[in-house]
Subunit: 324 residues, 2 copies
């Protein structure tokens, strides 16, 4: 790790799935080395509050406060305000816990006061002792719209309220044409200490695509001239977490790790240099020659802190190899 | 009660103290008969939410959900979000409970959507089965400012954060010159079924004065030509609740029930016809002749639902007498 030990890493992440690798990276890197660009296209307004599900998932995971049994939200959570809101006839399909609510209240008040999402996220992370720098992909509001057989749904309506049941025809990142990468992200990408970029095993369509859809993001990443690798979110033809596999089927793609790589290569030519697939997908390794990508076959199912740290080490090692 | 039984009553109230009589009135009147104008000059913004302490105190008391041991807020309350906000470094001197928080979230969201405070209060009261109509004194923001030896404090800063410790020099109802009585209040005052008006035993300076300070409120009340009575908030030289007695001292007034009547008579000539003082203040009854006010001496310490209802009956009887 000598090349990395003095440098910085940028990870791109959605929510819970990507947060596992982010947590592993935080285990093997110093806080000043780890920068994580987080998707904000899932953000929405609810109860008059600004909710940033992916930022919060990564933040809670890195603070070791995420509930791993429920799979989202905070440990030791309670739901008293939610129940009271239901009694008042307010919407309650999105479950905001009493502890989680503090995050949204804190953020919403400061957004109204004119602070940027980047500044607010920095403050929240400091209070929660998050050992990394979390960077919202943009300060501007972007809202993933899911076009499906039933019509158009906001992302959280599709994801939470409808439990991903509707068949997806296409996705739209409303507002993204007016968005810009944040100054903090551009500065990180221009930092001579940057050593590599990792696409976490997040949903390519819902978590990674919105980040690259921000005008200027992809050119800035490519111009950084550091190695870029991805970890497959598809293992043995299944999504480890969330609707990635179902979406691939609905978008008429074979559900496989190499197909994710193919998708990235076609959509973002020249972006990736390496790809990590799970040991259960070892037979797919030969596919990557034709894709022009280096490939590593490694255990990618991060079930505990040791396996998260191990995959993080593998990512850093891969970036080192690609840099030489 | 025959004259009242077919008519409507308007009560003017601050928070917890006035809410006791309001609760008694709700016990002896049908919901359609009881209208309660509530002070909103204590309202303030906190955590980006609009907090209306007096409206909530009256609403919770009328829903039988107020915590009578703590003396404010809801029964069965918890403080998980408050604790989490403290951990984030947010202000936590004003204690918002998890159940109470739902009220503020519900109200704040709807205010931002453009609903009036009157409409929102009606919705909250319906959800909580409040058997009366609660009428915020105005839709416009009014903010009591406490000028004291330490400088100027917002009302809740004085009342909650500083626990009424600063010596008050004067009070100011900032914004009141631009406020108007609500359409619902003016319609109630013009209703031919209106039979009488009761000033609840609330703080004259902090709860009742702001209501009368709304331009147009006092003339509309006097033009209604129904009897107006008040119940003394001072009993045996002490304030039953809150800083009324301390304020009277600081404003160089004798602390006594007749002094409250004298204050109202001087400040709002022609408003009052009757005044109810506590049995412990019976020796003060003769003072009211010189003030030109009818007086009743009755038990006014409302310690349970029976004594609240009994005082409410006494008020209605007094209004009946004055109408004849």
């Amino acid at each position: 790790m000598t090349a990395i030990s003095n440098g910085k890493i940028l990870a791109l992440s959605g929510g819970v799935g990507g947060a596992k690798l982010a947590r592993g990276l935080a285990e093997v890197l110093a806080p000043a080395q780890l920068n994580i660009v987080v998707n904000t296209a899932d953000d929405f307004d609810y109860w008059g509050l600004r909710i940033c599900p992916d930022l919060d998932s990564v933040m809670y995971a890195l603070a070791d406060r995420n509930d791993t049994v429920r799979g989202w939200g905070l440990q030791n959570e309670s739901w008293r305000t939610l129940d009271a809101m239901g009694n008042l006839g307010a919407e309650n399909w999105f479950q905001l816990g009493d502890l989680d609510l503090a995050t949204h209240l804190f953020r919403s008040q400061r957004l109204r006061e004119g602070q940027t999402l980047t500044q607010i996220t920095e403050g929240l992370c400091k209070s929660m002792n998050v050992p990394a720098r979390l960077l919202p992909m943009t300060e501007q509001a972007v809202a993933t719209q899911v076009h499906c057989s039933e019509g158009q749904l906001g992302f959280q309506e599709y994801f939470v309220r409808e439990r991903c049941a509707p068949v997806v025809k296409s996705l739209e990142f409303a507002g993204v044409e007016s968005a810009k990468p944040t100054a903090a992200i551009l500065a990180t990408l221009a930092d001579p200490d940057l050593r590599g970029i990792i696409l976490c095993p997040s949903n390519p369509f819902l978590s990674i695509d919105p980040i690259f859809a921000v005008p200027g993001m992809l050119p800035a990443i490519i111009e950084s001239q550091v190695p870029v690798i991805a970890v497959s979110p598809i293992v043995a033809g299944l999504a480890v977490k969330g609707p990635a596999a179902k979406l691939m089927q609905e978008l008429n793609m074979p559900v496989s790790a190499d197909q994710v790589a193919r998708y990235y290569q076609q959509r973002y030519p020249g972006l990736l240099q390496g790809f990590i697939i799970d040991t259960s997908d070892a037979q797919l390794a030969s596919e990557f020659d034709t894709l022009g990508l280096a490939v590593k076959v490694r255990p990618t199912l991060m079930t505990d802190i040791a396996s998260k740290a191990e995959l993080a080490e593998q990512c850093l090692g891969f970036l080192n190899e690609l840099a030489n």
